[in-house]
């Protein structure tokens, strides 16, 4: 999971993932979304590919990148353990707020 979190730790790479969540794109199309030169975009795509978050479909010269959401499952499972913690705290806060309101309305 370290390599996935590392890949997600860069805003440009998150922009790339967001774009790919709407459909496949070429490196040129992705470069148009980012304020960096294409060789920089290629480097980011390499990091994402190494983390298994994108794959590339090849047809002669044509290259198109796709999102691979599978590695995010592991991140989601890891986060879900903490989700129950904050959810129970938020529920407690909600209860407290409701109780306070009831008291002040008397």
């Amino acid at each position: 999971m370290d390599v996935v979190l590392q890949a997600l730790s860069d805003p440009s790479r998150r922009t790339v993932l967001e774009a790919l969540s709407e459909g496949p794109a070429t490196v040129g199309e992705l470069a148009a979304l980012l304020p960096i030169a294409r060789p920089g975009v290629s480097r980011h795509l390499r990091v994402l590919r190494d983390a298994g978050l994108v794959d590339v479909r090849k047809d002669a010269q044509f290259r198109v990148y796709n999102l691979r959401p599978e590695p995010l499952v592991e991140v989601d499972e890891w986060l879900s353990r903490y989700r129950s913690l904050w959810e129970s705290r938020l529920n407690a806060l909600q209860t407290e707020i409701t109780r306070g309101k009831r008291r002040s309305s008397k």
Binding site: T26, G28, D59, A60, Q61, F62
Partner: protein, 169 residues
Amino acid sequence: MTQETQADASITGTVRSVHGRGVVRMEGRYATDIDDLWSALTDVHRLARWIADVDGDLRVGGTFRATFTSGWEGPGRVDICEAPQHLLVTMTPGGDEETVIEAVLVADGDGTMLVIEERGLPLEELAGHGAGWQAHVEDLAAHVAEREPTDWHTRWVELTPSYEEAARQ
């Protein structure tokens, strides 16, 4: 296996097989002088406007990275650079996908004849590369005429069937 695909009156694209590897050849006349055409093929700012973003050491023996309008990206090495008539680069040097791209320019009146060949291509991808190069050199013709290049992918899809036909011959 040689077949001509005439999509533009001034550019002729052919594909053939040599020792089990594919060769794509684009022969054409461009409406500009040899020095201008040479600069369109070697100046990184101009290359970026019609075919590829190139970054690295562009002297003979130097290595660079290129990202083409097709989406293809990878390393390359400059092997021959003799202004303004002869350029030869090796793409993915030492790799499984190694190919050679060679450009030869000859002044022709107020224009310039240019032959671009890419050699060492996998035969099963020959049609795709033929169509791809045709789209690239049409973009070059547009660039030297100060027109905007078309969308590479759209043109590649349009040209692919005729190159599939050519590659079967």
